[in-house]
């Protein structure tokens, strides 16, 4: 079901009978579940979340102080929906798609209650180039024309209906202007640059595709050891201070998605500001254009109304699906899904629902699964390939993953990036624990790596991982007897794994070169470290002391290879490793 921007609907008036925090009860509006209603004299936006007899229970997306029984409530007869059309990118919205920059212009520093502003600029004219002509028979979801939305993204206007094109215009239009007409089941319908879509309903597609294309992130530990597939799902749980937000922001910056939807859900205001101020200055390593050109932000910070926080996740995913339907690969960062779950809990508590585990509502698992299931690489209705990749941060209380949000998330996601406080404390960033994290996309991506990186890449990665696992075992022994008691061969493993940890896994998100690493460079770095291991073993065979190997000059060179800008310089180190270690003699 699709609605026009100016969709007709019934208006039913009722009145408030009770107010308790963000939950308001009203009589007489005769609403359906999830209908949007306007509450009080200030017309605060709310949504019907429960119906008992003639009483509608409403969650209100703004502060409810000052509301009283008897105040008017108006039903709109429509579910909570977002406006889809050109002008979404580069914008910053709150949880219910109110443009925060427009609101700041109108009402200043603070978000005042009852602030209203259209999500898409009503005055801006877009140059529309049609791709269909009169008489064409088109399907719902077909691309009827294009608009250059930003320097990076061409906005593909989708038809909301099946039918025959009756007319189509070329030229400059606002999002509300009629750009043509279509005959749909015997009725003439207007075509526009924008339409609305209810946020709680997934947008349709033809079929899902297997996850066998890599989403390059530029982060070595992820791309190499825990790869994320386009259309896949990833969870990043970790205690505070373990670098969830820096990881999310790095992914938003450097992943090779066409469009990034960044949802700041119940998090810090300053973080959203940082993204807003930093992204226009950063350039996309592939296109050279500012990153903001492909980004939309949804900011419902921790102190903004909790009900809108609940909605922000759906607003975000709906925008993501919309760009997917145009044939783009979209990455959605949700920081943090725990705050969203807490919003569910808070509202559930106000409804006096029977709580499940730790006070969370019993439907938490279902809601989480439904959300992650809206990801995927798909064939769109217009026959293109698009994808939505979801990367969700989880903030487990006390860092304990046995809590319900972490557990229910892990049951649905395929990549688990475990952030580790002890790594963060020693400034090992990204603090992704290489022993507990996993990616279930590894197998599906084997071919992709062989074709796009190198034939040896997967083999090198597996060898490196084996060494790291061996290190963990050796460390237990070292804790008891000290490192010198180990045989030379095992001491060599400790030297090599320290390289893997410090010189490969660690990556400085604030270093001008190291912040983004291509897979080619990562492959060359791995090859160097493994070469050092092989040459080291051979050198030991010749009776050389382990100390001489540990003090070789190339060790420091390996330590600094991540800061090298050109891959050829990284590759050149390999020869010097062979030469120096080869020349060591007993």
């Amino acid at each position: 079901m699709l609605m026009n921007v100016n969709g007709d609907h019934m208006v039913k008036k009722g009145k408030i009978v009770r107010v308790a925090g963000p939950v308001v009860q009203a009589k007489g509006i005769d609403a359906s579940m999830y209908d949007v209603v306007r509450v009080g004299e200030e017309q605060l936006i709310g949504e019907v979340i429960k119906i008992v007899g003639n009483v509608s229970v409403i969650q209100v997306y703004e502060d409810t102080a000052g509301l009283k029984p008897g105040d008017p409530v108006v039903g709109t007869g429509m579910p909570l929906a977002v406006e889809l059309g050109p002008g979404i990118l580069k914008n910053i919205y709150d949880g219910i798609q109110r443009p925060l920059e427009v609101i700041a212009e109108e009402s200043g520093t603070y978000i005042k209650r009852g602030a209203v502003a259209a999500p898409l600029d009503r005055k801006k004219k877009w140059t529309f180039k049609p791709l269909v002509k009169k008489g064409d028979k088109i399907r719902r979801g077909a691309i009827i024309g294009t608009v250059q939305e930003t320097d990076l993204i061409e906005h593909r206007v989708l038809s909301p209906y099946d039918g025959t094109v009756k007319s189509i215009k070329e030229g400059s239009f606002t999002v509300e202007d009629e750009i043509g007409e279509i005959e749909h089941m015997g009725q003439k319908k207007a075509l526009r640059l924008s339409h609305r879509w209810p946020v709680r309903r997934a947008r349709p597609f033809v079929e899902k595709q297997p996850p066998n294309v890599l989403l390059t992130t530029g982060m070595r530990v992820i791309d190499t050891f825990f790869p994320i597939a386009k259309g896949g799902t990833t969870a990043i749980p970790g205690p505070f201070g373990s670098g969830k937000t820096v990881t999310q922001q790095s992914l938003a910056k450097w992943s090779d998605a066409d469009v990034v939807v960044y949802v700041g859900c119940g998090e810090r205001g300053n973080e959203m500001t940082e993204v807003l101020h930093e992204f226009p200055k950063l350039t996309d390593p592939r296109s050279g254009k500012p990153l903001l050109e492909r980004t939309v932000l949804i900011a419902n910070t921790s102190n903004m109304p909790v009900a809108a926080r609940e909605a922000s996740i759906y607003t975000g995913i709906t925008l993501a699906e919309y760009y997917r339907d145009m044939g783009y690969s979209v990455a959605l960062m949700a920081d943090s899904t725990s705050r969203w779950a807490e919003a569910l809990r808070e509202i559930g508590g106000r409804l006096e629902e029977m709580p499940g585990e730790e006070g969370y509502p019993a439907y938490l698992a279902r809601k989480l699964a439904e959300f992650y299931e809206r990801s995927g690489r798909v064939e769109t209705l217009s026959g293109k390939e698009g994808s939505v990749t979801i990367i969700g941060a989880v903030s487990p209380p006390g860092g304990d993953l046995s809590e319900p949000v972490s557990q229910n998330t892990l049951r649905v996601v395929k990549v688990f990036l475990a952030l580790d406080a002890s790594l963060a404390q020693r400034r090992h960033f990204p603090a992704i624990n290489w022993l507990t994290s996993y990616s279930l996309y590894k197998d599906g991506l084997m071919e992709w790596f062989a074709k796009n990186v190198s034939e040896e890449f997967v083999q090198r990665r597996d060898e490196a991982m084996k060494l790291l696992q061996r290190e963990a075992e050796l460390q237990e022994i070292v804790q008891l007897v000290g490192p010198d008691a180990l045989p030379d061969k095992e001491q060599l493993i400790l030297i090599v794994t320290r390289m893997l940890r410090e010189d490969f896994l660690q990556q400085n998100a604030f270093h001008e070169v190291d912040m983004y690493c291509t897979l080619e460079k990562a492959d060359a770095m791995l090859a160097n470290i493994l070469e050092f291991y092989r040459q080291g073993l051979a050198t030991l065979e010749r009776g050389v002391e382990i100390k001489s190997i540990a003090n070789a000059n190339v060790v420091e060179e390996i330590g600094r290879m991540k800061y090298l800008e050109h891959v050829k310089d990284v590759k050149a180190i390999k020869e010097r490793i062979a030469k120096e270690l080869g020349n060591l003699s007993a």
């Binding site: 509301l67 300053n270 006390g398 020693r426």
Partner: protein, 466 residues
């Protein structure tokens, strides 16, 4: 004004008033006792028939016959510049025997969320004169950086030292301090007031005191009043405001008490499920705003129950604030002041407040290297306790030595010692010279040349002088 005498139930801090009309959610209520005493409260839940009122203060003496007046507005406080130098109760009533300042504006104590699009990213380095903070967990204007402490640790002393020393380099402007005491003892409050008086800081401070024997429900209001005042001074009067709130743990206890009285479904350890949102409503009021000169920086202090960082109070705080400064009992036992443990401490905004033109070009890398080296040294300390120092390699022994020296020279400093950032960084470089140069992978080679050698010489000279 609507007055009722229809109280039907009194439970804990909650009073249920029947047959009310036209009462709004969040409205302030005045209850008059038989003896003429007045108590304030707020509407928590309002339906067609019943208003649930949360009383600020004890419910002692309230009976079903008490008169209840609904004042028709939410909790407000009159604010003005004249509040500087004054001492108020936890509800904003002057308690320094001087008349109430004339209000320039009356503001809702709950404030409104700052529009994320209106914020300006914090970027001005605040020099606190404390090495572990300036060097490794830098505070910037507009940040919220809590002190995670525990019973018996010198967090108040450190807070006072920060308030006294904090300045922005190149500016003469001092910070205005807004101090909110939340359920602390009289003795602790006295310590702050005395120190503020002695250093003359009181003239540029506003104090709000809710002491341990004041009603606990009032604790929910005190920080809100303080922050409303601070926002006014920062964003209307162009001042740089530092808000110190102590102790947030008492605030959370009061929140739990009220939640329990309301029969709400409890979350972790009995604290209400909305505690995260509630705390965020306080902490998120810090910041910098576009087009305004003033800033609001927060240093909330909390004592971790059982020294446990995973307890809901520090845990939820850490998820909202931009880092934390953690005080360590182990360091304090060793006689180290300030006992700031750099390893679990963190300032998220550090990278935006340091570097060339702000502090020094080598700052970020130096700090990373110090962290890594100290962390390694501490690990090796544990290891050498098991296997003995003899079983360690030469390099490892140097790390051990580094960790000890780091605690003695970098972490340790005097209560009145105000270190410049230059000095802090130089001490850091000097300590790194203990380690072999090839271990210093996190710093640029040119910085080793440029800064370490100089720092070592400087230190030698200083040592020579003494």
């Amino acid at each position: 004004m609507k007055e009722y005498t229809s109280i039907s139930e009194i439970a804990g801090p909650l009073v249920f008033v029947e047959d009310v009309e036209g009462v709004a959610y969040g409205e302030i209520v005045e209850i008059e006792l038989g003896n003429g005493e007045r108590r304030k409260g707020q509407v928590l839940d309002i339906s067609e028939k019943i208003a649930v009122v949360q009383v600020f203060g004890p419910t002692e003496g309230i009976s079903t016959g008490s008169a209840v007046r609904f004042l028709g507005e939410t909790m407000k406080i009159g604010v003005s510049e004249e509040m500087l130098g004054r001492v108020f109760s936890g509800l904003g009533v002057p308690i320094d025997n001087a008349p109430a300042p004339v209000a320039e504006e009356r503001l809702d104590v709950n404030g409104l969320p700052i529009n994320p699009a209106s914020r300006a990213p914090p970027s001005d380095f605040i020099q606190t004169g404390i090495s572990t903070i300036d060097g490794m967990n830098t505070l910037v204007r507009g940040q919220k950086l809590p002190l995670f402490s525990a019973a018996g640790l010198p967090h108040n002393k450190l807070a006072v030292q920060i308030a006294r020393q904090a300045k922005v380099l190149g500016e003469n402007e001092q910070f205005v301090v807004v101090f909110a005491a939340i359920g602390i003892t009289h003795e602790e409050a006295h310590f702050f007031i005395r120190d503020f008086e002695r250093t003359g800081a009181l003239e540029r401070a506003v104090l709000f005191l809710n002491l341990a024997n004041d009603p606990s429900v009032e604790r929910l209001i005190t920080p809100r009043i303080a922050l409303t005042t601070a926002e006014y001074l920062a964003f209307e009067k162009d001042m740089h405001v530092l808000v110190i709130m102590t102790d947030i743990t008492n605030y959370a206890e009061a929140l739990r008490e009220v939640s329990a009285a309301r029969n709400e479904v409890p979350g972790r350890r009995g604290y209400p499920g909305y505690m995260y949102t509630d705390l965020a409503m306080l902490y998120e009021r810090a910041g910098r705003v576009q087009g305004k000169k003033g800033t609001l920086t927060q240093i909330p202090i909390l004592t971790m129950p059982g020294d446990d960082k995973t307890h809901p109070i520090p845990d939820l705080t850490g998820y909202i604030t931009e880092g934390q400064i953690v005080l360590s009992r182990d360091l304090y036992r060793k006689g180290i002041y300030p006992p700031v443990d750099p390893l679990p401490s963190l300032s998220r905004l550090m990278s935006s407040g340091i570097g060339p033109e702000k502090t020094r070009e080598d700052h970020a890398r130096l700090s990373d290297q110090l962290y890594a080296a100290y962390a390694n040294g501490r690990d090796l300390r544990a290891l050498s306790a098991v296997v003995g120092e003899g079983a360690l390699s030469d390099t490892d022994r140097k790390y051990l030595h580094f960790a000890d020296a780091f605690e003695k020279q970098f972490i340790t400093q005097g209560y009145r010692e105000d270190r410049s950032i230059e000095r802090t960084l130089d001490i850091g470089w000097e300590l790194l010279s203990i380690l072999p140069e090839r271990e210093l992978k996190k710093v640029k080679k040119e910085f080793i040349e440029k800064y370490m050698k100089k720092a070592v010489e400087k230190e030698k000279k200083e040592a020579g002088k003494q």
